[in-house]
């Protein structure tokens, strides 16, 4: 079977279900058989509208309506584009239009609660009233595009990763293989469905395995993280996934009274990925939740990216975490030298079913064992490319002899396990969320139209978290005016992205570009950390200040 639809329809039954738990605790349920019925009816409606092979943008709140619409698209051979629901009254609709244009999407789908708010996009509610028995399965092959995963929503460089049915089935099978002979029976989580880990690691994995899925909204999780562990307790879940942030947030926020009511003993797989994994997050969580029955062998740290559908490497069930320590000064020289007193790094598991190569980013030749280089991947999970961007596709997906994906991440292999050490691409990851410098720079430009160029990048704080720094060019002026500019820019970025920011205002011309006009963000980062910039005004987070003070 070469397509997700035929595979999933083999598991349809009335005793498997999706359960969505609302913020107020109410639950809504859909059995797999009913989900299939609605998806077929929705597919009939989409096909009648001539949507076959034309992408549709899916703007939904967390819940079952998204899953129905997503499947209806797959059942109708409509490439689905999951994206975050724009907040009302924000400037997000510009981004939505960029996505629509970039993907060549013909239709915006949403639920009945949001259709009026999205009327400027001609959004519609998918009609599941048609007779599902009039649905005829479309011709689908391994190469048919199933959905587009947008890795950047920026208006300057949107990039939609084309995931085929073949990619999806291969990656889902890698996940299943992690669990060994006994596949998971019940998945629980809170990750958003527009996030590759929420879509593939929860929703589609449940449908692929024929397992129950119990889920909640990301906001409900952030507000009351105990609700996630209560889902696991109440439904006896055996599989969950989260970025490192989610586990750390539980350890931090859950009270002793809440802990006393939890039972995590059914959990046999807790996947961690999508952002750098801290060894301390695991040990802190284990210590805190051991009384609730959580076992250290439950962890499955992994590494992946949307360009490889989701997963590249992951630790199989029951093996527990491998942590090795390395000489920090050698790591800076791109060498991995074990040192018991060094920096602890978490192994992200072996590559199972994909080829992995560590390559020098400078000359694309494989680095010797123990050397750090760019992680390259090859195999059936590697996506088709970026939609409508042949140049970027060639540069990223056709490296080496033409069939290697350049991940833009740095790492090394030791005893067959991958360790991720850094990044040469520009993305910044905060609390499991990918932030693109282009988006931050655009927000800064909107906040102050007279300011010049800007460059955003991430720095690693002493606590291991990433922090955003923005270098902004301004005209020289009196300090009061500079303070005001700084305030405007920081207010705008804080509000739009919900992150703290360190800002440095510099004279015009200080933000460097290449001769072809490309921003040199990594170079700006080095200048910033090395004290090589002459600021007119700075607003630095205290932790970032210490970082600069420690630079020799």
């Amino acid at each position: 079977m070469s397509d997700f639809v035929s595979h999933m329809r083999n598991h349809l039954s009335d005793d498997r279900e999706l359960v969505f738990v609302r913020d107020n605790g109410e639950t809504t349920r859909l059995t797999f058989a009913e989900l299939d019925r609605r998806a077929r009816a929705g597919a009939v409606w989409l096909t009648e509208r001539g949507m076959t092979d034309h992408p549709a943008l899916l703007l939904y709140p967390a819940g079952l309506d998204f899953t129905v619409a997503f499947l209806a698209c797959l059942y109708a051979r409509v490439p689905a584009i999951p994206a975050p629901l724009p907040e009302t009254g924000t400037s997000h609709s510009g981004r939505v239009r960029t996505l629509l244009d970039d993907a060549g999407a013909r239709m915006v789908l949403t639920d009945s609660a949001h259709v009026t708010a999205l009327s400027d996009l001609s959004a519609c509610v998918i009609d599941t009233g048609s007779d599902p028995d009039t649905w005829t399965p479309p011709v689908l092959s391994a190469d048919t595009i199933a959905y587009l995963q947008y890795t950047s929503g920026s208006t300057s460089e949107p990039r939609g990763v084309e995931i085929s049915h073949g990619n999806l089935l291969h990656n889902l099978e890698l996940f299943r293989a992690l669990s060994g002979a006994e596949p998971p029976r019940r998945l629980a989580g809170w990750l958003p469905h527009y996030h590759d880990m929420g879509l593939v690691g929860l929703q589609l994995q449940a449908l692929y395995l024929g397992a129950d899925l119990v889920f909640m909204s990301p906001i409900a999780f952030v507000a009351r993280p105990v609700r996630w562990l209560q889902l696991i307790t109440r439904y006896g879940a055996d599989w969950t996934v989260s970025p490192d942030f989610g586990y750390a947030w539980c350890t931090r926020r859950i009270t002793d009274e809440q802990l006393a009511e939890l039972d995590l003993s059914t959990l046999t797989m807790a996947l961690s990925g999508a952002e750098p994994i801290k060894a301390a997050t695991f040990t802190d969580f284990e210590r805190r939740f051991a009384p609730a029955g959580f076992r250290p062998t439950t962890w499955n740290p992994g590494y992946g990216l949307a360009e490889c559908t989701l997963m590249v490497t992951c630790t199989p069930r029951g093996q527990g975490v491998t942590v090795r320590s390395f000489d920090p000064s050698a790591l800076e020289r791109h060498q991995a030298i074990p040192d018991p007193d060094g920096v602890p790094l978490v192994a992200c598991g072996p590559a199972l079913g994909l080829d992995l190569r560590i390559v020098s980013p400078e000359n694309s030749t494989p680095v010797p064992d123990g050397g750090i280089g760019e992680i390259w991947v090859s195999g059936p999970s590697v996506a088709l490319g970026y939609r409508g961007r042949p140049e970027e596709t060639r540069a990223t997906f056709r490296a080496g002899d033409g069939h290697w994906l350049r991940t833009g991440d740095l790492g090394f292999l030791l005893d067959g396990r991958l360790y991720v050490t850094g990044r040469i691409k520009d993305v910044i990851i905060v609390n499991g969320r990918n932030l693109y410098p282009q988006d931050l720079e655009e927000a800064a430009a909107r906040a102050n139209l007279t300011a010049g160029r800007s460059a955003a990048f991430g720095v690693r704080r002493p606590d291991g978290g990433e922090h955003v720094v923005l270098i902004q060019e301004v005209r020289r002026g009196h300090s009061g005016a500079l303070g005001e500019t700084a305030d405007q820019v920081m207010d705008a970025v804080a509000r739009e992205f919900g992150i703290p920011l360190s800002l440095m205002l510099v004279p015009r011309g200080a933000v460097r570009q290449t001769t072809s006009g490309k921003l040199r963000r990594r170079h700006m980062r080095e200048l910033f950390l090395g004290g090589g910039l002459t600021p007119l005004h700075t607003e630095l987070e205290p932790a970032v200040n210490t970082l600069l003070a420690t630079v020799p």
Binding site: V222, V430, A494, I499, P542
Partner: protein
């Protein structure tokens, strides 16, 4: 909660979320300066809901970005404090 109690309570909550001593928070300085981010802002909304019984918008901490501004805004939303002084008995009652 009288305004000065509300101010102290907010300062303690925010300081706890940001892992810093309450005395280091200047009530007139924007909280983003201290590293306030969306997860803290949402958590503060939960605190306000659970302790003060007020349902507030998740953008609260951006609309009212300092302890002073939050105190002023929430004081307006809260019912006026009950006075504990016993009302004097009307004169002339038997």
């Amino acid at each position: 909660m009288p305004p000065h109690d509300l101010r102290r309570w907010l300062t303690e909550k925010v300081a706890d979320h940001l892992r810093m001593p309450p005395a280091d928070i200047d009530p007139a300085v924007k909280l983003r300066t201290y590293g306030m981010e969306s997860i803290h802002a949402i958590t503060l909304c939960v605190d306000i809901e659970e302790t003060l019984g007020l349902l507030v918008d998740p953008t609260l901490a951006y609309d009212h970005p300092t302890i002073d501004a939050l105190t002023a805004h929430l004081s307006e939303l809260l019912p006026p404090p009950q006075t504990n002084t016993p009302r004097p008995l009307p004169t002339g009652t038997p």
